[in-house]
Every structure is written in structure tokens, then in C-alpha cells.
């Protein structure tokens, strides 16, 4: 026991002598991580304290330190707050909708694209479908608000032509979730297809040829050769996607949000934001932090669990 300890020490000393001069390389990254990631984590104590009185205190830190401890009071408050519960359930519902509807699309599209022979159309699709991924949500928000506009938008013009009545889509509680799913799909479809296309390209083309020789129909080739081949990739992507369920897309919702859609479109990110920036009297830092902590903790558990499962089953993960 002791011997191995001294051995370890000697080994460590040796390693330190050899690699010690590499430690300065960490400095910039560690500095930024400490200041802009770890210090805010210390700020999470606010979740267990009275709302800091920042106007009375000389500095924010002093204000936070001076605030009284209140234990889990804020958590009890938020779990009784209908607005929080609404935002929480919306976050989950919107995320589930996004996964259920958007997740299968790039897989299907990748299969179609890898099997189709028309080069021109394929190239045209590739060129047009990657573009939205590189646009900001602000711009996508502008584009979709315009084409869905009740009086001037393309979609309503077309519906009018067919004899439907014009309809509001963006500032409409009933269609808001659909809008979120649609725009998310529009932005990400091309990008997420790349992963699966790569997975399909990596498959052995001989397998499909052999299946064809044996008289397998197109559908059978896809079902029995392509799909099983990319199944590990699909499973890993799915598990990792589940890990991000607590993030329903703050920037996206922010861009499309209006008070009309609070009931169906309010998500945790929006609610914490409003508690600080649009609070009636005093910014509710403590309540907001409590919700943020709850959100981060659940998200952390989900990501860790997802990664562990994916490592265990498929030997792949984010790290």
C-alpha cells in the first residue's frame, strides 16, 4: 500500500517534471471558464436566499451575501406557481413534439437522397437545404412572420386562392407549437441529414447489391439492409437528443413570442427571462435562479444518463 503510494508519487513527480511546463497552456481557457462559467455557478446560492436587494447594496456580491437564507422556500413557491407549471409543461410538450416529428425526417431524407439517381435534383436540394442552418433565428423569425402574415403573407394568399379564410399563425395560441416545430424542422433538416448520409455512405454497398440480386424489393432493401446498418447512429443520436429535452429553444421562442401565445408557447427560458427583465416591481433574481437551477439539474441528469446509456450500448458518446 505504502509502496504503491510512493511509487505513484515518484511517477507523478516524474510526470510533473516532464510535462509541468505545459500547464500555462491551460491559462486562457481556464480563466474564461472560471470567470464566465464557474462564478455564475456560485451565484446559484441565490436560489436558497431572499431576493438580493441590489439597490441598497454597494456591490451585487455584497447584496447576495447579505440576503437571508430561506432554504427551499423559492422551490416551494415555484412549484405552486401556475405560470411556472405552465412553462414547465410547455417545455416538455414542445420538446417531445419536436423529437417525435422532426427526429425521423432527416433519417428518411438521407435514405431517399442516398438512393436517388437524379443528380441535378439531389445537388439542388443539397444547396438549398443547408442554408437555413447558417441563419440566425432572428432572420428566420422575420422570414416566417412575413410569409405567414395574415394580410400579406404568401401562405395566406394561397389559402385565400383555395377559398380558405385568412388566418393568423404566429400570434395564435393554437398554431404556435406547430409553428415552432415547422421552423425548427426547416432550419435543422439539411444539417441533421449530413450525419445520416455519412452513416449510409459508410455502409457496404455490396450488401444492398446482394439483396437486390436475391430479389428484394426497394422497400425490403431499405428495411433489411440500410435501416439496420444505420441503426446504431440513429440510436445514439436519439439518446443524445433526449438529453436536451429541457431546452425547447429559447432563441426561437423569443423571436416568435407574443403575449397571445403565453398559454401554449411560454417555456422555462422565457419565464426566467421575464422574471428578471420584465418583472413588475423588482427583478426576481432568486426565483429566476431557482428555476434555472431546477432546469440545469434536470438537464444535467438527462445528459449524463443519455451519455452513459449510449456509451454502454453503442460505445459512443459526446465525450
Amino acid at each position: 500500500m505504502r509502496r504503491s503510494f510512493t511509487l505513484k508519487c515518484a511517477c507523478l513527480a516524474e510526470q510533473l517534471r516532464k510535462y509541468g511546463n505545459l500547464f500555462p497552456f491551460y491559462v486562457p481557457a481556464v480563466l474564461f471558464a472560471l470567470v464566465f462559467a464557474y462564478i455564475p455557478m456560485l451565484g446559484l446560492v441565490m436560489a436558497f436566499k431572499e431576493n438580493p436587494n441590489l439597490l441598497g447594496a454597494p456591490t451585487a456580491i455584497q447584496g447576495i451575501l447579505d440576503a437571508k437564507w430561506v432554504g427551499l422556500k423559492h422551490f416551494e413557491t415555484i412549484f405552486r406557481n401556475p405560470q411556472f407549471l405552465n412553462a414547465f409543461s410547455n417545455t416538455l410538450i414542445i420538446s417531445f413534439l419536436k423529437i417525435a416529428i422532426i427526429f425521423p425526417l432527416p433519417i428518411a431524407l438521407a435514405i431517399v437522397m442516398s438512393e436517388m439517381r437524379n443528380r441535378v435534383l439531389k445537388r439542388g436540394l443539397q444547396i438549398s437545404m443547408y442554408l437555413p442552418y447558417f441563419l440566425s433565428w432572428a432572420i428566420i423569425g422575420g422570414v416566417f412572420t412575413a410569409i405567414l402574415n395574415k394580410n400579406t403573407g404568401m401562405v395566406n394568399n394561397f389559402a385565400d386562392l383555395l377559398g380558405f379564410s385568412r388566418m393568423e399563425y404566429v400570434a395564435n395560441n393554437d398554431t404556435f407549437r406547430g409553428l415552432l416545430v415547422l421552423t425548427q424542422a426547416w432550419k435543422d433538416l439539411g444539417w441533421s441529414t449530413i450525419t445520416y448520409l455519412a452513416a449510409i455512405t459508410a455502409l457496404d454497398p455490396g450488401l444492398e447489391e446482394a439483396a437486390k440480386m436475391d430479389g428484394a424489393s426497394k422497400w425490403q432493401q431499405i428495411r433489411h439492409v440500410v435501416l439496420p446498418g444505420i441503426l446504431p447512429t440513429v440510436a445514439v443520436m436519439f439518446i443524445l437528443r433526449i438529453g436536451y429535452i429541457m431546452d425547447a429553444g429559447f432563441e426561437q421562442v423569443f423571436v416568435f413570442y407574443s403575449p397571445f401565445v403565453q398559454q401554449n408557447g411560454d417555456i422555462l427560458g422565457m419565464y426566467t427571462y421575464r422574471l428578471i427583465r420584465q418583472a413588475a416591481l423588482v427583478p426576481q433574481y432568486s426565483l429566476s435562479t431557482a428555476i434555472g437551477l431546477f432546469n440545469s439539474a434536470v438537464a444535467l441528469i438527462l445528459v449524463l444518463a443519455g451519455n452513459a446509456i449510449s456509451r454502454k450500448l453503442f460505445d459512443r458518446g459526446i465525450w
Binding site: 491551460y26 481557457a29 462559467a37 455564475p40 435534383l121 438549398s128 432572420i139 422575420g142 459526446i318 465525450w319
Partner: protein
Amino acid sequence: MSTQRMTVFKPHTSSYRFLMLGGYVVALALSVMRVAYVSWTPSQRGTLQMGMNLLWIAFWLEETVRLIRMNRAQQKRFLLFHKCEGLFLLASIPCMVLDFPWVLLLKMPYCFSLFDDEKVFQKLANGVVIVLILLFVLPFLHVIAVAFSGPSAIVNIWPVDFDLFSLTYVLGDSAFFRAILNSVLITAIGTLISVFAMTMAAYPLSKKEMPFRRTMMVFFLIVMLFNGGMAPNILLMNSLGLNDTLWSLIFPSVVMVFHLLLIKGFFEDVPAELEESAKLDGAGNYTILFRIIVPVAAPMIATVIFFTAISFWNNINNSILYITSNQAIYPLPMYIKNFLSMNPVDIASNNPTLLSYWNNVKMSYILISILPVLLCYPIIFRYLKNGVAMGAVKG
């Protein structure tokens, strides 16, 4: 195996095949048109409904006849392989009573299986891809069309009353170009700092024998997996006095752990002999990293630079959280978002021309802010090849 399946009764004359497919396409079209019932007169509706039901009955009869003409074993095999067909046969009657035409979709596999399925697949794929291309292109066409149109015209995808007023208005807006400049600054400085810091930190992390390597990995992974949330971040920015400055839009996003892990992976692939020989020549660590390892991994690092730049360019999260009053430092996306949510009457009340052009002006702003990305698109497209590594999960 497959030859056995072929013994199932299948009338393969070409007129029969086209009759089935034609009938099917018409039936589908009819059921789509039922959705658009709004504009039809009751008598037209009646005709439509009648045609629909006739086709339905025809399909149903065709299938029943086909089933009856088979022997027991053939029937069994048929129902086993064409589950949709059997389901269609069973579900048709209640669905007809309930007026639910979409059960016809179950008929699709059979109608297509009458043809060479490779050809059918290619045709279907082309159709799907054309629809998708339209879906991706039409919104942009609409933006361009409105930007070039005159006021209060109904515009779809081509300009009506061609007019350059809104575009000249946008090009004359100095605050807009200030926003573009801000975005360029943020992107340039942010990318420089971020990629530099990540490259530096990735070097020791890529050494297998580096002491405390695991500790440092955990240190960075925590940054990726956990965060303090909005309130502490906002308070931190306040107390550092960075609120409403360009730095508040850069610093919080500098540590991109995913990129750190990627660069670390690239460095691990650089052959160790390169480094050993440089060390024998007496090169220091900094020389080794920046003169030897980084140039070897340059294509990969270029990809990381590119993705870092994109994420800085498109970020509106930081602007939402950390800019409260100083609109002069709005980056481009936030400027757009702010402009789009403004009430036209507040700004343009003394300028009736602008007020009438309001929609066109909005689209001109969007058009011009898409342009930089569009101009970079050929480069983006080239990097997408390397981007496969970014999209794929690390093995």
C-alpha cells in the same frame, strides 16, 4: 422464395396496371380536394363525394374478386405479405360509413407494387425532393419579391410594381451598417479569442501522460454540462461593468467545450514523431504547438474557426440577456429582431411614405442581412465536407 410469392394471383397486363394507378391517383386527389371543400357549391360537393365513393367501391370489389379467385394457400400468403391490403378490406366499410377517406392510403403499396419498384421509388423520390426544394427556396423568393415591390401590393414570389424605395431606405440607414460592423467585430474578436484559447488548452489535454488530465477534462466538461442560468450571469455582467458593451457579447461564449474536444481529437491524431524530432532540435512548447502541430491540423482547425464564427455571427442569446439600453452595440440579428418588433407608427408617423412601405422595408432588411451568409455560402458548402466530422458523434 420470391418466385413463390409471384404465384399469388396478379393480373399483370399493362392496361390493368395503369387503370389501377390512375384510379388510385384520382382517388387520392379527390380526398385531398375534400379538404378544400370550403369553396365548393353543395351540388359540386355531391358529385365529388359520389366519384370518391365509386372509386372506393371499385377498389374494394377489385380486391374481393382477386381474393376469391385465389386458393386457400394463396389467400393466406397474400394476406401475410400484403398486410395493408387486408387491413384496407376490413377497414373500408366502417371508414366509408364514418366518411374517412384516408384509409385509401393503405392501398398505396399494392398500386405501386404493380410497377417496377425501383422506377416508382425514383419517381417518388424526385417528387419529394422537388417539394422540399420549393419549401426551402420559396420563403427566400418571397422575401426578395417583397423587398423589390411597391407598397400595398399582394406579392407572392415575384415582385409586383417593381420599386427600389425600400432597398434604398435600408442602404441609407447608418444604424444598420453600424450593426453589421458590430457583428463583424464580435465575430472576428470572439473567434480569435475562442479558437486561440481552445487550441492552447487542447494541447496539454491531448497528451496521454499529462498529470491531472482527467481533472482538467472534468473541469471543462462541467462547463459544457452545467450552467448558472440567466440571473447569475446577468448579475456577473453587471458587476464586471460589461453590461451594454461589446465584450458582454463575446466573453460568455468564448469557452466552447465541444470545439475543445474536437481540437483535442485532432491533436491526438498528429504523429508523435514530429514532436519528438522538433524537441531534439531544441524547440520550445510554444514553437512546437504553433509551428508544427497547428499547421498539421490546419484543415481541421479551419473548420472549427468556421463554426465558431458562425455561432458568434448568429448569436442573439447574449444580446437578449446583456444589452439593456445601449442599442448602438446591437449586432445584426438583434438589430433585425428589434426592428421587426417595432411599431411602425412610433417611427414613421411623420413619414407617410415609409409607413406605406413598412412591409417592404422589413423584407429589405432581412434580404440584406442574409446577403453576407449567402456570399459566404460557397465557402460554407466546401467546409460541409469537413463538417461531417462535426455533425457526427465522436467515436
